[in-house]
Symmetry: C2
Subunit: 441 residues, 2 copies
């Protein structure tokens, strides 16, 4: 018989686990972001039943399966698509494999206990969730959120963004929001602009220009609140009076990093939002930053990487965009700048479309028909001439007029075609008759 | 009855039109570069018979068809694939349409007389070729070439580059070469690097770096001999002791432009070649520059556009590379630089692969398996950890050691998995035990 994973009978849960909001808030503490086993379980049983089962299962792991069968009854647990295979941790330097673009569930590597299918996944999950049961305090965390004027958002709420549906079981269990909680509305016309913290002056200039241009086009600007490019994106939106949404890796009670605190406060106060799937008090660890990036990629209609080195976390966001089959753009930069090497690698692999200004970004992520003007360069006299007229224009002397016969020979054209072309060029103001011959005008 | 197009009986040809070399040289004066009707005719009849027919046809256009039938006998004239439709002149600002990548004959717009199929094409061609019959002087032009130590190269010569076959009837009728006439050998491992005359310091730096890197990898560097990027490419090759080939739009007797004269002379003297399909004395007009670009695209294994504005002639070379289905690369630059806007447009359309250094250019155009090293950025401790170890590393305190139970809770992992991960991290030198707990190392 297994040892109980924690002594719940003695400790007890310090809150009403029948309350669906409290139970859901508790789950966002129990499970790490993107834990698809938690997502599938909470989806299937509802947060309160799922929590009750976890308490039972943690106290007597050997009964976990039987208890689950009893609670679930005939309900489908939706774990069939959850990938429980142990894998590599997410890493910022891992670029998307374009060939495997399938939007499979973004399941976490569920440890070494993937044996035994869904039951194996659940037993392994109980083992990793149980240590956090002891200190659960969703009431306290909701109170902290309330003190910041925040909103607890759950799936099913009309303000919950349907763009998260693409994440499947790895969608967030809930969202802790400061600012405007209507993420559904904010997401409707939105674009994610991301980039390196260690950015260059060039990257800053491009980020500002893209952010303002997209803000003027009515887009909500989504980013990660980090220093560098992210900060310029949020700032550019605020300057233009557009809403901006920042996804944090840690709790929204702490507007991290310190350099962005004022900016993030303004984002929440001026029509946008600061959002986390982790409850207040959560520390922003590296893996949480990487998991957070899937929310940036999923919320908006598309993502543009403004400036990113090869190890930039922004490439993780790009990776998520590719896996979710969302449009991805990358802004090129000097090939001599390592700060753009990540963007160039995305372009080389064909994972991202080359984006050079706000109009092109809007074409990528905006509505049908929202095409950027075709870049043609300045038009010049003589553009769009037919071949004969172009050849005659080429053959026309600049100063001393030449006879039509000589022009025909130089142009390599029939005499009659030359005469016709000269007439057309005269009409267009490109040729003139002088002293019985022709010259350029 | 038509009026004779010129009075040949009185003027006569001033050279032995039975001499195949002289006749071919004459044809390169009669027809503009890329004239596919001339190409098909000379291919089918041979240059001398084709010239004799032209003389007859020019004297009595109404007999042209009958005479052609008599000369050709049952021979196929190969005009079936020649596009005689009147069209737009080539323009540098016209970017490739990627969807229509078929390598159709690069036929010229043959004027307004495309009616009547092959015969109509030929009658129109006679009218444009005839005016040049009077002043033909292939002996004089060959003598000028000889004074420059040059070589007259015709198809069938083992030194003729087979890479031109892709041009079909629009292949050059002959080549006027200064320097090493073995273009077949020079083309074997070759890359075309092209760009704007109005280049930036950035473009110059990139051109030099690419040219040297590719020269060191054993490539012949092909370009257009122009000022700006082209000149840097030729110079980069010469500095590295690699052969370089310059295609001129005008005759090779005049090493145009003046700023490139010394460079082009060195190219011809130091193992490379300066090449034109137009005879000595030919003036480099705009349409000839554009037609010349097809030779740059066709000779080498692939083309890389180093820096090009939207109106750059380099985009015409890119256009030819796309139509010939040859690999095309483009080097990105700052989006704030209009001098790179043409490259970015090629990348946006998916016409070109993003190329950032010589290794990537070599991967694009070189042999199978000549892959550029994968760009990954510096590796760091903790890369390639499994998910559990990464989470534990994330959860490890930097200073004050924490107990395994607390680490499991922070990491969101089962106790057993945490213990296992700590052991692995200790082995990797990333974690250490201290005071009964664990911390980062």
């Amino acid at each position: 018989m297994d040892e109980p994973l924690f002594d719940l009978p003695r400790a007890g849960l310090r809150f009403d686990a029948d309350d669906e909001v409290l139970a859901r808030a508790a789950w966002s503490r129990l499970a790490e972001p993107g834990d698809a086993v938690a997502g599938a379980l909470v989806d299937s049983l509802g947060p309160a039943d799922a929590l009750r089962w976890l308490v039972d299962a943690a106290g007597a792991p050997e009964r976990a399966e039987a208890v689950l069968r009893r609670i679930a009854g005939g309900r489908e647990l939706g774990l069939g698509t959850v990938d429980g295979s142990p894998g590599l941790a997410e890493a910022p330097g891992r670029l998307p494999e374009v060939s495997t673009g399938a939007a499979t569930g973004e399941g976490p590597a569920a440890g070494r206990a993937a044996r035994g299918g869904a039951v194996g996944l659940l037993v392994a999950a109980v083992r990793r969730w149980a240590p956090r049961l002891e200190r659960l305090d969703p009431e306290g965390e909701l109170a902290v959120l309330g003190r910041h004027g925040g909103t607890f958002l759950a799936p099913g709420d009309p303000r919950w963004p349907s763009s998260f549906d693409v994440l499947g079981a790895a969608a967030p269990l809930c969202l802790w929001v400061r600012g405007d909680p209507d993420l559904a509305r904010l997401a409707r016309r939105s674009v994610s602009l991301v980039g390196s913290r260690a950015c260059t002056d060039y990257g800053v200039r491009v980020a500002r220009s893209l952010a303002r241009g997209l803000a003027e086009r009515g887009f909500t600007l989504v980013s990660g609140g980090a220093a560098g490019i992210d900060a310029e994106v949020h700032r550019g939106a605020l300057v233009s009076g557009a809403p901006t949404v920042a996804f944090l890796a840690g709790g929204v009670d702490r507007l991290y990093p310190a350099s962005s605190t004022d900016l993030l406060r303004r984002a929440a106060e001026e029509g946008g939002a600061v959002v986390s799937e982790a409850p207040p008090g959560s520390v922003p660890g590296k893996q949480r930053f990487l998991k957070r990036n899937r929310l940036i990629a999923a919320l908006s209609s598309g993502t543009v990487v403004v400036e990113a080195a090869l190890r930039s976390g922004a490439l993780s966001t790009a990776n998520h965009a590719v896996r979710l089959l969302r449009p991805l753009g990358a802004v090129p930069g000097p090939v001599t700048s390592m700060a753009s090497a990540g963007c160039h690698e995305l372009l080389r692999r064909g994972a991202a479309v080359c984006v050079t200004d706000a109009a092109e970004a809007a074409e990528l992520v905006g509505d049908m028909g929202e095409a950027a003007p075709v870049r043609r360069g300045e038009s010049r006299p003589g553009d769009d001439l037919d071949a004969a007229s172009a050849a005659v224009l080429d053959a026309l002397p600049v100063r001393k007029p030449a006879h039509e016969r000589s022009i025909a020979r130089v142009a390599g054209l029939a005499f009659a075609d030359t005469t016709g072309a000269l007439g057309l060029l005269e009409l267009l103001g490109l040729a003139e008759q002088r002293d019985g011959g022709w010259r350029r005008r």
